[in-house]
């Protein structure tokens, strides 16, 4: 598994629950190194163990933690760079949804060996969308729940009012229902093309 994903899990736990919680979770997961490195590869098993250990320590369902990770990725000040990259997807939330199918390609452009599940967007009726994550169950279990958190946070970022529902798996794909109630519901956050990209602060250092 790509270190960026493992590192995200670590930074989420450190930034949200504190250094000592992270250390305890890592210890219980029998993760020997003190940190995941973003640019190294890890055995998927050890990352799963850390996640399982977090479920026990935080006494929270796995799905809820995964969704929180998605929200954290967009809203935490440490991840401002990523929020900006996501905002390149479109000028409003609907536009952004239409760009989601490009997401794995965009990720690969940046980090060539970062493989994200293929996404497919279907719009059934106006304001009603369905996203299928193909292959996520096999390669990146829980990706769909992280995506729900990301979408929820991005809707807030654009100031849109949406209803999200993870519908479980169908034919090996995770299915997410999206209802866009209003695109201009609230004041969104700024996205200025000319803003200097912030350098990500290292949570662990």
């Amino acid at each position: 598994m790509h270190g960026l994903i493992a590192r995200t899990l670590q930074c989420f736990l450190q930034d949200t629950y504190g250094q000592s919680a992270w250390q305890e979770i890592a210890r219980r997961a029998e993760f020997d190194a003190t940190d995941f490195e973003a640019m190294l590869d890890y055995d998927t098993r050890i990352v799963e163990q850390v996640l399982d250990s977090a479920v026990l320590r935080l006494d929270k369902p796995r799905e809820a933690i995964l969704e929180d990770i998605g929200t954290y990725l967009i809203t935490h000040p440490n991840n401002e760079g990523l929020r900006r990259l996501m905002r390149y997807g479109g000028v409003d939330f609907i536009d952004f949804l239409h760009s989601l199918e490009d997401l794995p390609g965009r990720a690969r452009l940046t980090v060539a060996d970062l493989e994200l599940p293929e996404l497919e967007l279907t719009d059934s009726s106006p304001g009603q969308f369905l996203i299928s994550c193909h292959g996520s169950l096999r390669d990146l279990p829980g990706f769909g729940h992280v995506l729900v958190g990301v979408l929820r946070a991005m809707a807030d970022d654009y100031g849109a009012l949406v209803i999200l529902d993870h519908r479980g798996a169908l034919d090996g794909a995770e299915i997410i229902d999206i209802t866009v109630v209003e695109t201009d519901f609230a004041e969104g956050r700024d996205f200025d093309l000319a803003a200097a990209p912030p350098i990500r602060r290292e949570a662990a250092s």
Binding site: L4, E37, A38, M39, L40, G81, L82, R84, L85, Y88, V91, R106, L109, T110, V111, D192, L193, A194, A196, P197, I199, R200, E202, S205
Partner: protein, 329 residues
């Protein structure tokens, strides 16, 4: 030109139309933004665009002659940035010039606070900005890892070259330094120091006391030598000191005696006093005076001199004296 103005503005926001009279007839919205009202419609196009490559162009026929070729240009009354251009006849005697920021797009966006609506949706400019930001983020992650690895490597290297008990350098560090001195052809002295009566301290007062004696002796050696000298613990109670640039035997004798006198001062230990002394063997590497030597030979010579010092009754130093070569007399 017969296309609606809105069509031109949307498909090519950074364009300029030149009429058959060679004057600017219209400019796209992004170009107007760049010029911020400084150059207006009606001016000869050469007063707005300074085309300098492939060659200077100032007349309409000259511009049309360049049709289809890549032009490099600057705005006469705008920011001093280079633009790429492409001119084609408009079918009505004039020309249509399409402009692009090229590689300077990141800078242009910052300078002019451009937004995504300033670019045609088919323009790759926004994707390029995305890539630049994404690449800097990925690069930063890589650099963070490199910095951490570098720190870990330095720490590991430091540990690998340090004797943990005394904080002196260890045998590996000494070998390294010795090789370097020999390679660079420097003059230096190698002192091989061995403690006398150390075994008695260990036997009568225990290893903890022995360790403290070693630490005290290490401090003395650091005190008596210069900062650039290397002091290494190479065995239980054996030390090597490398003194770069110093081959004067009188000064070396004085240094060795001072070392021995300091080491002989009783060391307070749990209300009692520990007494040790030291013997020192000295070998010189002086490439200008004699032939250059190998590290092994130098260590062996210092060891032989140390043996001499011990045989003469300990607590003293001796220099290595080369044996006369057979047939030299």
């Amino acid at each position: 030109m017969s296309l609606p103005a809105d069509t031109m503005d949307t498909i090519c926001p950074l364009h300029l139309q030149v009429g058959a009279d060679g004057r600017v007839r219209r400019m796209g919205p992004t170009l107007r933004k760049l010029l911020s009202g400084r150059c207006c419609r009606g001016l000869p196009f050469a007063d707005v665009l300074h085309i300098y490559r492939p060659k200077g162009v100032s007349t309409l026929p000259g511009l049309l002659e360049m049709a289809g070729r890549k032009l490099q240009l600057r705005l006469c009354c705008g920011p001093r940035m280079t633009l790429k251009g492409l001119a084609m006849p408009d079918g009505e005697g004039g020309a249509l010039v399409s402009l692009s920021f090229g590689i300077g797009v990141v800078e242009a966006v910052r300078l002019h606070a451009l937004t995504s609506t300033d670019f045609a949706v088919t323009d790759l400019a926004i994707d390029m900005l995305y890539l630049v930001e994404a690449k800097s983020a990925a690069m930063e992650a890589s650099r963070t890892l490199n910095r951490r690895l570098q720190g870990a490597m330095l720490a590991a290297e430091q540990r690998a070259y340090t004797d943990t008990l005394t904080g002196l350098q260890n045998r590996r560090a000494m070998d390294h330094m010795l090789q370097r001195l020999i390679r660079s052809g420097e003059r230096f002295a190698l002192l091989h120091l061995d403690l006398d009566f150390f075994k008695q301290v260990n036997d009568t007062r225990g290893h903890a006391a022995g360790d403290r004696v070693l630490q005290a002796v290490a401090r003395i050696m650091l005190d008596v030598t210069r900062k650039e000298d290397l002091v290494a613990r190479v065995g239980g109670d054996e030390f090597v000191i490398l003194l770069a640039g110093l081959v004067d035997t009188a000064r070396l004798s004085e240094l060795a005696d001072r070392l021995i006198r300091r080491i002989e001062r009783p060391i307070p230990m749990d209300g009692a006093l520990c007494r040790v002394s030291a013997s020192i063997g000295i070998a010189l590497n002086d490439p200008e005076a004699g032939g250059a030597q190998t590290a092994e030979a130098l260590l062996e010579h210092a060891d032989m001199a140390l043996y001499t010092a011990k045989r003469l009754g300990r607590a003293q130093h001796a220099f290595y004296v080369p044996e006369p070569v057979d047939g030299a007399q």
